[in-house]
């Protein structure tokens, strides 16, 4: 389809393992965002890319979280040494530009840390 695609849809990992979450934005979208959504809450900003440049990573909870978008299209969010508090839905969104345009979201990856 033409929407934002995320994989895997579900990920179960043991505490201490590393995980990688993938986001395929809408073709041609310059801006890409990662959000974390806890149960019963709204999405919370993690990080923002404009093309391949990571312009804001102020929302990343710790240095265990790392995101990249090396060629300005697909992005990967990596979490090292996972902890139980990392369990959440991770949402990716893209837009044509930064501000003033709606962001279009993927269906998310539900991460469960045992």
């Amino acid at each position: 389809g033409a929407g934002v695609s995320q994989s895997p849809r579900y990920k179960v990992a043991k505490r201490g393992q590393d995980v990688a979450l993938r986001c395929d934005p809408i073709s041609g979208h310059v801006s890409l965002f990662w959000y974390q959504q806890a149960l019963g809450q709204g999405p919370e900003f993690l990080t923002y890319f404009q093309n391949e440049a990571q312009l804001d990573k102020s929302g990343l909870p710790s240095d265990r979280f790392f995101a990249e978008r090396p060629e300005g299209s697909v992005s990967t969010l990596k979490i090292q040494r996972t902890q139980q508090e990392d369990s959440a839905v991770y949402l990716c969104a893209s837009s044509t530009t930064g501000g003033g345009q709606p962001q279009h979201f993927g269906d998310g990856t539900r991460l469960s840390i045992l």
Binding site: V4, Q6, S31, F33, Y35, G40, Q41, G42, P43, E44, F45, Y48, Q50, L55, D56, L91, A93, S95, T97, G98, G99, G100, Q101, P102, Q103, H104, F105, G106, D107, G108
Partner: protein
């Protein structure tokens, strides 16, 4: 700190009637506001937006009102339909696109 608040966690409305969802914000630098709709196990879907230079935007059954002096916006859905049953999120943008979301309002449309 929560800069966008949706104080009603749930709303029940009869089919055919109006649904009114409310949202308050604290940051006067926000210049663009959006409403998203979310079904279980799916990502948020963009519904409607409004720039801070306007006070109303309409798209079919959906109308968003913005009151800047009160730092308040609302979403009206008329008439409400069963397919409108979902969680609705209010979001605000202060710079380059970073969105801040409210906690959401669960809408249930009853026959």
């Amino acid at each position: 700190d929560q800069q966008v608040k949706q104080n009603s966690p749930s709303l029940s409305v009869q089919e055919g009637r109006i649904s009114i969802l409310n949202c308050d914000y604290t940051n006067s630098m926000f210049d663009y506001f959006l409403w998203y709709k979310k079904y279980p196990a799916e990502g948020p879907t963009f519904l409607i937006s409004i720039s801070s230079i306007k006070d109303k935007n309409e798209d079919g059954r959906f109308t968003v009102f913005l009151n800047k002096s009160a730092k308040h916006l609302s979403l009206h859905i008329v008439p409400s339909q069963p397919g409108d049953s979902a969680v609705y999120f209010c979001a605000a943008n202060g710079s380059w696109g970073k969105l801040q979301f409210g906690a959401g309002t669960q809408v249930v449309v009853t026959p």
